[in-house]
């Protein structure tokens, strides 16, 4: 084996993102608990209010959540709360 001409060090995190298959799309939302997460962008609530109406008409139970601010990732507790209480979650981005 020959000595490489140049060896450099990896400047990255060297992590590989985990790949997960998408969940299959539910055929109906009837009877499901659906979380609506307001990320706190202006008028995100307007969008989510309408989504809540449409989901409720289709028999879903809707729970509303909000991030403290749109500029930061959702706190771990909030993500856990949504994951443990909901079958599905819809996140709103608006302006």
């Amino acid at each position: 084996m020959t000595t490489p001409r140049l060896t450099i060090l990896d400047p990255t995190s060297e992590s590989r993102p985990a790949r997960r298959a998408l969940l299959s799309r539910p055929s109906s939302v009837d009877g499901m608990t659906i979380g609506l997460l307001d990320i706190r962008k202006p008028r995100g609530d307007v969008f989510l209010d309408r989504i809540e109406e449409l989901l409720t008409e289709r028999g879903a139970r809707v729970l509303r959540y909000a991030k403290p601010t749109f500029t930061k990732p959702a706190p771990a507790d909030l993500r856990h709360e949504i994951a443990s209480q909901c079958n599905l979650v819809i996140e709103a981005l608006a302006d």
Partner: protein
């Protein structure tokens, strides 16, 4: 590689190239005749011909025993060094050998020469050879026909400009700029929330073009941005054009040659250009924050390559930004501010502090939008020509800020939504109120720039307070 143990007795390290070593050859022969002497030669394996010796061919003995000068004479007892002298000194050599008439024919003293193990041309390779195992990052071999500069572009490691290949030699040299261990975790880098080690910072600092003495500043800046207060995640992810603006204070800024004067935000100074660049490369490469991915900036700004400068403290009539923010004067420190590109506030005619402050207030009114209030902070960088007007009038920082804030109280009715044919503005709940353009601590004042020019500079911020980014000031530790 483990440290080789020195043999008991006397140990001498020499090289042929050194005239003092050659001069001491008869003395070494005398010592060898009467006691246990181990001679290690660094360069010519045949030298010294008249004395039994070993060749320190890989300089392992010299490196591990910190030989900086040849000749070095060491006394070793039970494997432990108990005495050492460097160069030739008749008195010292007699004391260490116990031979009372040693070197009578030689001069009283002669300085030695530099050890090969500290030769600037060799030291990086030796460091890599003997300490390279501290590096845990993946090693990537370049193929024989591979252009490393193109390869680093292709791997997505650069900010669009070429980077310096981070070889083990260069990274170890960079690590010599800090007392922190390579595996120390300094921060958690957004957006991927990756533990950020000193080693990974050093790799990115090499790529950015830093010198080792910049490392403490790069580390401090990354500590300052990677936390919930500064909120680097949001600063990166926002559609707004901001990035971390790094304002450096303290005597260390001069030691590392930072620019606080002419063209202070511009090109041409290695420390200014590469410290900020290293911070951004670490966020990009370790944190995974890349434009078009989590970085969603509509326009961004050229300062996202590097926006880092030193404050002109000596010329400042209002102290330094760091000391205003709780750091004792004379301490190396930096402040990070989520800011957009700078723009010029011109006033070439003001001769009184009131006139100048009126101008500044008028310019500051338009930060982000003339009809926005309280949403953004600002960094006002006052030039020497402008600060002299304050100095002559005896206005210090407190007075300047008070007067600015007083001029930036706005009748809300003038900036409500729809007023002046502009939809943008404050919501109607502010009607008939007076609102400040900036929150009480929302104007940061710094002093920098060339000695000529009746201009100052405005660097507008981003969403402020808990819902956005707070300026953060940290001390720079070695």
């Amino acid at each position: 590689m483990t440290k080789p143990v020195l043999p008991d007795g006397l140990v001498a390290v020499v090289k042929r190239e050194c005239a003092t070593c050659v001069m001491t050859e008869p003395v070494l022969a005398t010592i060898a005749a009467s006691t246990t002497l181990s001679v290690f030669t660094q360069d010519d394996a045949a030298f010294p011909e008249s004395v039994p010796h070993s060749h320190d061919s890989d300089l392992s003995i010299s490196w591990h025993h910190d030989i900086e000068t040849v000749p070095t004479l060491i006394r070793v007892e039970n494997g432990v060094e108990v005495d050492r002298t460097v160069g030739w000194s008749r008195v010292a050599w007699r004391a260490i050998t116990g031979i009372g008439d040693l070197g009578e024919e030689l001069p009283v003293m002669r300085p030695g020469c530099g050890s090969l193990s500290v030769d600037p041309d060799l030291v990086d390779k030796l460091r890599a050879r003997f300490t390279g195992s501290v590096l845990t990052a993946r090693h990537i071999d370049m193929a024989s026909a591979e252009d490393e500069f193109e390869s680093m572009f292709n791997r997505g490691w650069t900010d669009g400009l070429p980077v310096i290949p981070p070889t083990a030699e260069r990274v170890l040299r960079m690590l010599a700029g800090t007392t922190r261990a390579p595996d120390e975790i300094v921060a958690v880098a957004p957006p991927d929330l990756v533990p950020l080690s000193v080693e990974k910072i050093a790799i990115n600092a090499v790529m950015a073009g830093c010198l080792p003495e910049y490392m403490p500043w790069v580390i401090a800046a990354l500590e300052a941005v990677c936390n919930d207060r500064f909120n680097m995640h949001g600063v990166l992810a926002t559609t707004m054009p901001v990035g971390p603006v790094i304002v450096c204070n303290g005597p260390g800024t001069k030691r590392i040659g930072m620019n606080s004067g002419i063209n202070v935000f511009g090109q041409g100074n290695r420390a200014n250009m590469t410290i900020g660049r290293a911070v951004q490369l670490a966020i990009r490469n370790v944190g995974g924050g890349r434009p078009g991915e989590v970085d969603r900036a509509t326009h961004g700004n050229p300062g996202k390559l590097s926006f880092c400068f030193a404050e002109d403290e000596d010329g400042s009539p209002f102290g330094s930004l760091a000391s205003e923010r709780g750091i004792p004067p004379g301490t190396d420190a930096l402040t990070v501010f989520a800011g957009e590109g700078p723009r010029c506030a011109v006033d070439q005619l003001a001769r009184t502090p009131d006139e100048l402050t009126n101008s500044f207030a008028a310019c500051l009114r338009s930060v982000m939008h003339p009809k926005s209030a309280l949403a953004f902070d600002v960094l006002l960088v006052v030039s020497p020509d402008h600060s002299r007007i304050y100095a002559e009038a005896g206005w210090a920082r407190g007075r300047i800020l008070r007067e600015l804030h007083a001029r930036l109280e706005i009748e809300a009715n003038l900036i409500l939504r729809g007023v002046d044919g502009m939809a943008e503005g404050l919501p109607d709940r502010f009607r008939d109120r007076t609102v400040p353009k900036f929150r009480p601590d929302g104007i940061l004042l710094a002093h920098a720039g060339g000695g000529a020019g009746l201009f100052s500079s405005i660097i507008a911020g981003w969403a402020n307070g808990d819902m956005g980014s707070q300026p953060v000031t940290v001390a720079v530790k070695s």
